[in-house]
Structure formats: structure tokens, C-alpha cells
Symmetry: C2
Subunit: 296 residues, 2 copies
């Protein structure tokens, strides 16, 4: 109950202050905060030495050949405010022990189902009849899995909202939340590049920071106060999900377009208290009859 | 028909000469071939400047931040025998044009279903009753997908062979082939390391080269003579499949243990004529009722 409450509080913050957080993040990536960094240490979005949306030409640190256990800045044994916490302590109720995660987070990322591509605005890009049918099938599957879902967050775009509302019919006790950070966009220039999809530089510039901010909000180890394993559903978009998967597995984020996702499919990430991450399935849509499968 | 025939020939070569190929590959990684490399250029297994099983401590070239279009040594515009082929030619029937792939290969990697973990030898590690049921469900799904499968290759281990034979009942017209290279093993030391699974160095040494050899045999763009898109089923093992996925997507192979796979699940790789690779799904087992899902 307290877990759900804190989740709501975080998302409330998101709705109103997203612009502020993004502006701060972009400013920080340019080094504007400099010596102020210590004062901002509670906002993890400002903490990365090298943001994932580092412009092309600058070699990112992350290669996947190593594993950063403090990738979400929640490793209690890592540096905090410039000093390392004591690694051995006799008092089990000490700050460090309290700072350790105890539960596993399961994040089920659902791609919205098929929608009307010819709509000229987001509001017109609503689900097709097949899309609504796909969402019913995904809802049935999620319910059949029988997991104790904690929350159902969805991108505020029409097709994700509509998908989430259909899923919600099958999960009547799960709280529904909308989030602007999860909207579709251009996370980072894909490598190898593609010819059929060429967003403007400004799109990567804005969406990249926003989608990275979404990643940092939703994909991290459990809060030390969380006692039981959690199961959270996030309904969003193909680019967002693929970028999340690359970042969570510490694979180069530029590789996100090397993956594809069926509409209404389930992508399942598990985050252990140690900060280990596992991808349990990517784009699972096996619960749909083959003639209902689409990728639009 | 001619495609199937050439496939059979390749696999025939595999059965008998696997040891020779592996010995050659290992020798080459140590630089023993040196100036002989040109003479061996038709054996792609010998061509990589830096093998994927490069020992720990040596930084591999591959980081995923870039994309090597000649990853399978089948890019006709790349260097061949030390000289670059002409990139522009007026004769459409020229060697280069003939050297280009025209079809897409779809590789459906199936993890064997649940087996008896307490068996002391491979022969005793046969499927459980649930495992046989899972294989029936996977076979039904593959048949329902209605694809024109070209071949069903399986690892020669008992649990993969048994799974393949059950799948085969549902795909009666698809040729069945066994392959030793696809057996389970330790592909490369995982990063981050795990405590519950610590193979000896010699296991990585032997299995690593063998599983890389399996990757090079099965995962590559279509032969220029292949006219139609193909659909090939490979029944093998969790470590082999996860390593294949990392290598195919040009993600660091050390990351293979960051993914998990359900028994009997489908992992689908698509390889375009250009050498582009896409992962369409990883570990899809949505066609199984939740109470039949296992990961052992």
C-alpha cells in the first residue's frame, strides 16, 4: 500500500515538473551545474557522468563489455556525496543496510496495439478494430499470468492510453496512471542508420533526453523500503521499449533498432536487489493467433 | 530444392570435419596461419581479425556502437583476397552482382523443453512429461504460423533431439538434421559474473570456439543463389541461443547471461540481404498456458 502511494507521488511529480527535470538534465550534460552537482544528488537524473544521449562522435563509456552495478545510482556500496560508505558494519539497522534493496522488480513493457496510421494528429491515431482485439488478447494473457500487479502506467498518447484502458478491464484492481515521459519519439540515432526513417536532429535532441528521463524514472532496482517483489505494467511504444531494453542490459543504446516488436507484445525485464538485470522475453505475442499478429 | 541440397552438404561437412575446422580456427586465432590466410579465404571460420572468444583481458573490437556490414564475410563490396572488388559495374551479370544476397533468412531458434535435471549422463537427461507437452505446444505454434520451413536442425544432445522429434510430428515435410556444434556449453565468460555457475577455464576454451563455429555456420546472410526467403528452425540450448543473439546483433557477447529463455520458447532472427539483422522476438512462449511455463 505504501509502495503504491510512493509510486503515485513520483508520477505526480512527473506530470507537472517534467520540463524542469529535462531542462536540468540537458543543462547538466553541458556542465552548467558543475560544482552544484552535490546539492542535486537526490535527483538521479542529474547524476550520470556521461548521459546516454551523448552526441554522435563522442565515445560513450558504456560498451557492454563490463557491468556497472551502480547503473541506477542506487548501489549503497558506491560513492555517495563524494565519500564511500563503510562496507562493513556491525549494526544491522545501519544506514547502509537500510539502503539495500530487498525485493525484485518485474517490469512488463507492453507495446500498444495496432492503430490508424493515417490519422493526422495523435488524437486521430486511435486503435483499429484489430488493435482493440489485440489489446483484449494481451489483457487476457496478463490476467492469466496471475501476477500481483502493482500499477499500470501508460504513455499519454492516444494509442497507448486506449490499449491501457482495454488491458485495465482485465485487471480491474490495478491502478492506472498516465505519463508524458513515455510518449513515442526518437531516442538516439540508430546504428546502423536506416534510410526510411530520418528524424530531424532536434527530435533526437528533445526526445532523447525525455526518453532517457523515462528510463531513469521507471527502470531501477527496488526502493529499500519495498518488501515484496513487484510487478508493474508499462504500456508504451516500440522505440521507447527497445531503448529501455538496451539501456537496462547495458548494451549500446544505438542498437535499439536491431530489435522489432509485435503490437500488443510483452517484454519482461527483471531487476534484482543487486542491480542485476535480466530480459525474460522480448516481444512475446505468442498468445495471439498468427492471423492477429501485426508490427505497425 | 537446390537450397536444401546445399544445406545438407554443408551439414554433412559439419558432422565429419568439426574437429578439423575447430583446430584450424584455434590455430588461426594464435596467428599460426599468418601468410596462409589468403589460401583459406573460402572458409569464413578463419577470416575474423579478432575472434569472439578472444580471452579476457584483450579488448575485443566489437562494441555495438558501430555496425560491421561484413560481419559474416559475405558482403560482396568488402575486401576479398586483399583487394576491393569494383563497386560500380555496367554488367548486371558480373561477379559482384552475382555475389549479392537477394533473399532474407529467418532463423527460428527453439530452446529444448523441460528435461530431467537429475540424469547423470546426456542420454538420461530426457524430457519430463511436462517437457513433452511443451514440445507439442511449440510444434503446434510453429505449424500454425504457416511458414514454409526449409529445415529443422537440432543439437545432438538428448533433450534437443527429443524436442526436435516432437516438433517434427507437426512439421512432417521438413527435413530433420542433427548437429554436434549446437550442443550446450560455456560460450564465453559472462559479464557480470555469476556465483552459481562457474565452468572451468577449459570448458570456455573448448565450448567457446565450438559455439562460435556454430554461429558462423548457421547465422549469416543468404547465399547469393538463394532466390526465396527461407525459414529455418534450430532446436538447441539457452546458452547457445543467447550467445547467437548477442553475436548476431553485434552486442558484446559477454552479455549473453543478461537474458533468460523459457523452455520451448521461440527466438526469431531475421537476416536481410544487406547483412542487417533484427531480433523479432526473444523467448516467445506466449502460446503456452501460464501453468506450463518453465525455465529449467
Amino acid at each position: 500500500m505504501s509502495y503504491r502511494k510512493s509510486f503515485k507521488l513520483i508520477c505526480g511529480f512527473a506530470g507537472g515538473s517534467a520540463t524542469l527535470v529535462l531542462a536540468a538534465a540537458v543543462a547538466d550534460s553541458r556542465g552548467y551545474f558543475g560544482e552544484w552537482r552535490g546539492r542535486w544528488s537526490r535527483l538521479s537524473v542529474l547524476d550520470a557522468a556521461q548521459p546516454a544521449w551523448t552526441p554522435a562522435g563522442v565515445t560513450p563509456v558504456q560498451t557492454g563489455h563490463s557491468w556497472d552495478f551502480n547503473w541506477d545510482k542506487r548501489d549503497p556500496s558506491a560513492l555517495t556525496n563524494g565519500k564511500k560508505r563503510e562496507s562493513v558494519t556491525e549494526d544491522p539497522s545501519s544506514e547502509q543496510d537500510n539502503g539495500k534493496s530487498k525485493a525484485t522488480r518485474n517490469i512488463l513493457l507492453i507495446r500498444h496495439s495496432q492503430y490508424n496510421l493515417s490519422g493526422s494528429s495523435d488524437k486521430e491515431r486511435i486503435l483499429t478494430p484489430l488493435g482493440r482485439e489485440q489489446a483484449e488478447l494481451t489483457g487476457l494473457r496478463l490476467a492469466a499470468l496471475g501476477l500481483k500487479y502493482d500499477v499500470l502506467v501508460h504513455s499519454s498518447m492516444a494509442r497507448a492510453t486506449e490499449t491501457a484502458h482495454i488491458l485495465s478491464k482485465h485487471l480491474p484492481d490495478v491502478e492506472l496512471q498516465s505519463c508524458d515521459l513515455l510518449r513515442e519519439g526518437a531516442p538516439i540515432e540508430p546504428v546502423p542508420p536506416v534510410t526510411h526513417w530520418k528524424p530531424d536532429a532536434v527530435q533526437y535532441h528533445e526526445d532523447g533526453a525525455r526518453i532517457e528521463a523515462a528510463f531513469r524514472r521507471y527502470i531501477h532496482r527496488a526502493n529499500p523500503k519495498q518488501k515484496e517483489d513487484s510487478y508493474e505494467i508499462i504500456v508504451c511504444h516500440a522505440n521507447v521499449i527497445r531503448y529501455f531494453v538496451c539501456r537496462a542490459l547495458q548494451f549500446p543504446p544505438e542498437g535499439w533498432l536491431r530489435m522489432g516488436l509485435n503490437n500488443g507484445s510483452i517484454t519482461w525485464l527483471t531487476i534484482r536487489p543487486s542491480g542485476r538485470v535480466a530480459l525474460r522475453t522480448l516481444g512475446d505475442a505468442g498468445f495471439m493467433p498468427p492471423d492477429k499478429l501485426t508490427r505497425t
